[in-house]
Symmetry: C2
Subunit: 209 residues, 2 copies
DNA sequence: TTATGATCCGAGGGATTCCTCGGGATTTGT
DNA sequence: ACAAATCCCGAGGAATCCCTCGGATCATAA
């Protein structure tokens, strides 16, 4: 009865109450993950917090990893859609405001649940995380490249690399701030400074180099 | 015999061979952590990789967490000393070169072992990580503030906040790159772009705002 | 109503993990 | 050389943890 071998496929919920327990389990998983960490987030504890039997949990999720994989997927989709919505309602003509709305969108996307964001981000075991995020990343990188080519003065620098650095910087800083000092996400200072930094980075006018 | 209750204090190695096994255990822990992850890095496996009995391991480390706490501490100290050495041998007059050497130092500090850096960084259970790192952070922030006040033209912006953003950005980007595409650490491009970005960020308050 | 399927349940098995404990081997001090 | 201190060891116990399985309970359709 070797563990982690059978992998029988699970049902997906059809009735209303089934969908309810399905949600309850994921929500409980998120809460337990945030306040106990991945290791302490045992399936038994999750089921208990969700108010369902452990059997019900394994009725819909083949194993522990799957729960957090789906949780991560949900969080990514939610973040990404919010991100797009924020960008869609922004003026596309001026570079500085374009950058600002991107930054704001990124901050807001994380601000919805900084703790969950950090926890999920640190879940290395879930190699599911990367490929999915990578697609989004690429897509967004192209967007940025096009915006740079039509609005920025880059001289002879490689717009592709510049876009990479911009994305890396934005994402990394926001995620880092979310982890170290989440309160800063609510102040406008972060948005201002990040915007200024990125704008100057792609606007050439200087004495040097 | 409740686990995790006794916490009897452990000896510290005095003889040479003891010091050797002590090191062997920590090195094995690092290797196992990097290639299997924290969960799979069991004390039994570490002892085996180190070529010592499990008993010997618990002769010097009270529990699993302690091993990685010390490992993290070692890595921090090593990184920090290398960082300072790199900075000490850099000219302090020109702002751009100053920034460049800071960036280079930060990259090199991580490049020594990117995989271990990432793994350790993602070890949330070790709340030991933060307070220790925080001290270093503060110290370095002051350094930066002084450098900015004497070399940069910040206008009426708050140098303290600017320093925070610079540090956040540098650290976050380097750590992120180390995790996503470690190869980039070896190319000069990252150093160039980061330097450019930071330099422009604190120079010339040009057209906007 | 009754049959069929969906949903829920939780005791407990197999596996694994952390760590102890008693004692053997080696080094050091005298 | 002998005692004390230090170091090394690994079988195995207690505690979890993940997950299964057989059956109870509920919903829906005929």
């Amino acid at each position: 009865m070797g563990r982690r071998i059978s992998r029988k496929p699970r049902k997906s919920p059809t009735q209303a109450r089934a969908k309810a327990t399905w949600n309850a389990i994921l929500e409980a998983a998120a809460r337990v993950l945030v306040q106990r960490g991945y290791e302490k987030a045992t399936t038994d504890r999750i089921a208990e917090r969700a108010g369902v039997g452990i059997g019900s949990l394994y009725e819909y999720f083949p194993n522990k990893e799957a729960i957090f994989a789906i949780l991560n997927q949900q969080w990514n989709e939610e973040r990404w859609s919010g991100f797009q919505a924020e960008l869609a309602s922004a003026p596309q003509d001026d570079l500085q405001t374009l950058i600002r709305s991107t930054v704001r969108a990124r901050i807001n996307a994380t601000r919805r649940n900084p703790r969950l964001n950090s926890a999920l981000r640190n879940l290395i075991p879930l190699s599911v995380t990367l490929p999915q995020a990578r697609a989004i990343y690429e897509d967004f990188a192209e967007h940025t490249v096009r915006a740079l080519q039509s609005h920025a003065r880059l001289g002879d620098r490689d717009p592709r690399l510049v876009a990479q650095v911009m994305l890396h910087a934005t994402h990394a800083v926001v995620d880092n701030v979310a982890e170290i000092s989440p309160d800063l996400l609510d102040s406008p200072a972060l948005e201002d400074e990040l915007t200024l930094m990125l704008y100057r980075y792609v606007t050439e006018s200087g004495p040097s180099d």
